[in-house]
Symmetry: C2
């Protein structure tokens, strides 16, 4: 089954202790789409400017990514510049130019309206809700957000949360959204707002799945070098949702495997700048690392 | 097989957001011994003062804990006072009175000299080495330390590390000891100093096992309330070493299960102040939570 993502496409300028890159293709929808395309057909809804040309489009070509929802607007594409220090757990934003993204009003091509799996990447919650309402037949709708919306538009965010099945968020933001320090209690409080499944991302410590009937955790992959953490969360989401859409059903065993595939894909993303490593993967790379995750978590009773 | 622990016995005064307790029995050797005694016979080497009487001794009685190595010295028992705030990941020490612990020179009763499994809890590294050298037949010797010795007596610590099989340390201290931020690379550097097995404790994020042939991780148990984190690391060590000693061999599958039993026991320790919860456990409680750990980490391929 297909997965639809709505989110940003951007040009990123990134500096890390391992090096730097100028104006490389990025954005949540880009990382998500490239990653999910290893698992299932992807439909993308985003806006780009005049400076997004055939060179950038090549990133999506040759992959099962439908770009008919990629709107061309007059002006420049969204730009972000940031740097990372020390353990690289947090980006320091140096510059943000919204450009054409400032007036983004997601438009869904008619052919997208039957999509079963939907991911509302981190954009204004009212836009997330508008997209969600256009897809009444979706089997599973996931949502990401960030501190900017948690603090800035809490009512709009709650309305959107009331209409989704799954939320993905990092642990710091989960505590902020719930106003509760203890993570399992924060998770329970967020689940009461709507999403029956909550995925909490914990950076190098991995990720956790919180549901009615319990927990599931996967560790972070112990990489000896992290070159660029940009896009790791969106890549995680792409692996998670891409696998679920391929599996076709959000059963408990599938959700667990989805969490591991998300972790697998995020572990590749950070190995090099931007999309470099993600674009070079083969299915065998992915399955090998999935097996590594099994080996580093399973024990006999 | 028996497990021997050398370390501190203390009276702790503790304040956390959940409450407080005055002069309750604590210390690394105490937490370790009580915990390991659920798995295997324990031998304790520590020093106490005149104020350690029959009431305190009751904690060890009725359990397979040999206290013939518990030295009585003239003076007061070691005292520690500390408090925890917010997420309780770090204690703020308010007061330390070494008392009889200041001149602690571990003495091993002759009956202890055939011990197979040994844990050198966090004491001065030269004392750790002296104990280790008196136990040449030990199958597995583990060692814990802290930032105070890493910075204050680095050469002594390195000599002790050169003579042990296993080191247990928290992630922050692992990075400090290795002088390397990246955790897998810090682990590799520490393993080069001697211990072929490294266990890295990560607080609420669980623990990791680093060895020649790979990694193993267990998450922290997602407790809805943590009342007192004091002794969690020593409890972890007691569960880890106690299980290994019961199993009788430090095979890879046993080391993995040991890491989970350590995590299980630590998750109980923090549920109440001091030893309260640990002293109330049954084998069924322990096996039930071990099964919870299996459920929250295993996935089907």
């Amino acid at each position: 089954m297909s997965v639809l993502v709505v989110g940003s496409v951007a040009f990123d300028s990134i500096k890390t202790p391992a090096g730097e890159a100028q104006e490389i293709l990025g954005g949540a929808a880009t990382y998500f789409a490239v990653t999910a395309s290893y698992f299932t057909p992807v439909r993308i809804v985003a806006v780009v400017g005049d400076d997004f040309g055939s060179e950038q489009l090549k990133t999506f070509e040759g992959r099962p990514i439908d770009t008919s929802g990629l709107e061309r607007a007059s002006g420049r594409t969204f730009r972000w510049a940031g740097e990372y220090h020390g353990d690289m757990n947090e980006a320091k934003t140096l510059d943000t130019q919204l450009n054409v993204f400032a007036n983004f009003a997601p438009k869904l091509p008619p052919a997208y309206l039957d999509t079963d799996f939907v991911f509302l990447a981190n954009i204004q919650p009212t836009l997330q809700l508008e997209v969600r309402e256009q897809l009444p037949k979706a089997r599973l709708v996931g949502l990401d957000t960030m501190n900017y919306w948690i603090n800035g538009t809490p009512d709009e965010l709650r309305r959107a949360l009331g209409r989704v099945d799954l939320m993905m968020i990092n642990d710091k933001e989960a505590r902020m959204l719930a106003g509760i320090d203890n993570l399992p209690r924060a998770a329970a409080a967020i689940r009461k707002l709507g999403p029956r499944t909550l995925v909490i991302k914990r950076g190098e410590y991995g990720a956790g799945l919180f549901q009615e009937d319990g927990f599931f955790f996967a560790p972070g992959y112990p990489l000896e070098e992290i070159r660029d953490p940009t896009g790791a969360g969106d890549t995680f989401a792409g692996g998670f949702m891409g696998y679920l859409a391929r599996a076709g059903e959000a059963s408990l065993p599938n959700l667990r495997r989805a969490l591991v595939y998300g972790s697998v894909m995020a572990s590749f993303a950070v190995e090099d700048f931007g999309l470099t490593r993600l674009l070079s993967l083969t299915p065998a790379h992915i399955e090998d690392r999935f097996e590594q995750f099994r080996r580093m978590t399973h024990f006999d009773v």
